[in-house]
């Protein structure tokens, strides 16, 4: 199947917001999503963007029954490792179910790797849910390794009330 991979622009935010929700539903975490289309527009496409996006698009003749041609995306941002310096964090990678198995996920991830390397990055990190076997299989086949399992690193979060309390004198 024909598809194209390109950097996201501000007009893509509506579809990105839609697909963020689809991915969150798949991960059984839809109630955690607070970001809106407007947040994405402001945070991703202003002078100092907080994230970057890649879109996978198919031609009109392959659009979904709801009329969508934007059928996959990746969101990533640059971060810093105190061990290796510049690095890229792939925040989200998603392809709509009916378009899987056609190399689109690989192509999206490849684009993030290329852009990361071009920006001088030495590493790429991302997180996967431990029960998400299809994704785990895909990532292992790409040569990734699970540093939670091998090194015992746990992701921690301090948010909402806990964050505010911490900030109190």
């Amino acid at each position: 199947m024909d598809f194209s991979i390109r950097p996201a622009n501000v007009e893509d935010c509506k579809d990105i917001a839609r697909m963020i929700m689809e991915l969150a539903e798949y991960e059984k975490m839809a109630e955690h999503v607070k970001v809106t289309q407007r947040d994405l527009e402001q945070d991703g496409f202003s002078k100092n963007p907080f994230f970057h996006g890649i879109i996978a698009e198919v031609p009109e003749q392959h659009r979904t029954k709801e009329g969508h041609t934007k059928i996959g995306y990746a969101l990533y941002c640059y971060f810093y490792s105190s061990w290796v310096g510049r690095a890229v964090y792939m925040e989200d990678l998603y392809v709509m179910p009916e378009f899987r198995g056609k190399g689109i996920g690989k192509a999206l991830m490849r684009k993030v790797a290329q852009l990361g390397l071009a920006a001088g990055c030495n590493q790429m990190n991302f997180t996967v849910l431990e029960w998400n076997k299809p994704s785990l299989d895909f990532y292992f086949s790409q040569g990734c390794f699970d540093i939670t399992a091998t090194v015992g690193y746990h992701c921690m979060r301090c948010e909402g009330e806990a964050l505010e309390r911490l900030a109190q004198p």
């Binding site: 975490m29 945070d43 105190s82 996967v128 849910l129 390794f145 939670t148 690193y153 979060r157 301090c158």
Partner: protein, 229 residues
């Protein structure tokens, strides 16, 4: 009781920051993984577009047995979560052993969380090794949740070598070719074209591509080739 101050790092702090990064890595038994240099820290933290921010903890000179004034640091940056928006990510956080228990760590967490709240971050994220029970307790006392245990998130990594493999669709196989096997007219044609375009011969690259490969793919692959020297 150690008196101390917390302040944003300055370019002149990079030597201490690297020293403390290595001390923390040593504590995590990963010292050999630190490849960063002072030059990297200087360019990446104090250039036009900083990749990280740093807080340092300083004590008066007479209080440190080895004469160090900078005895703790926290390295952080801002990232984005598609569900909740802006995040403050705490990359490294370390206080030298002899200065622990004096409230320096608590004060660092307070300043970072103030920064997070002021810059409208929804959350502060960081990583802890599961065997580092002291640190896990320190964070949990302050309301942190362990997402790996509670929600099943596993952190993955891809090294630069594997990133490079992933970014080219075909592996460039090393082919040892007798130069005479390359059609002479191809080589001649390339030289003549370069001369016509006033390009130096040393900057020529002849790429032999299997029949039927799309031009777009060839272009995309060539863009990933870096010419050194």
């Amino acid at each position: 009781m150690a008196s101390f101050i917390l302040r944003p790092a300055r370019p002149s702090d990079v030597s201490d920051i690297l020293r403390l990064i290595k001390e923390l890595a040593k504590f995590e038994e990963m010292e050999e993984k630190v490849l960063l240099t002072e030059k990297d820290l200087l360019e990446d933290g104090f250039g036009d577009h900083p990749f990280y921010h740093c807080l340092v903890a300083e004590v008066p000179k007479q209080q440190s047995s080895e004469g160090h004034i900078v005895i703790g640091f926290a390295m952080y940056y801002f990232t984005y979560d598609p569900w909740i928006g802006k995040l403050l990510y705490l990359e490294d956080f370390f206080v030298m052993q002899e200065f622990r228990g004096f409230g320096i760590g608590s004060k660092v967490m307070k300043v970072l969380s103030e920064t997070a709240v002021k810059t409208r971050c929804s959350s502060m994220h960081f990583i802890v090794a599961e065997n580092n029970t002291k640190s896990i307790e320190f964070y949990k006392r302050r309301g942190a949740a362990d997402l790996s245990s509670e929600e099943g998130w596993r952190l993955f990594e891809i090294s630069k070598e594997d990133l490079m493999k992933m970014s080219t669709r075909y592996c460039l196989k090393k082919i040892t070719m007798d130069i005479q096997l390359v059609p002479a007219e191809l080589v001649k044609g390339l030289k003549e074209w370069c001369q016509g375009e006033s390009l130096e011969e040393d900057h020529e690259l002849l790429v032999l591509v299997p029949k039927g490969v799309e031009t777009a793919l060839v272009e995309e692959t060539l863009e990933t080739v870096k010419a050194l020297g």
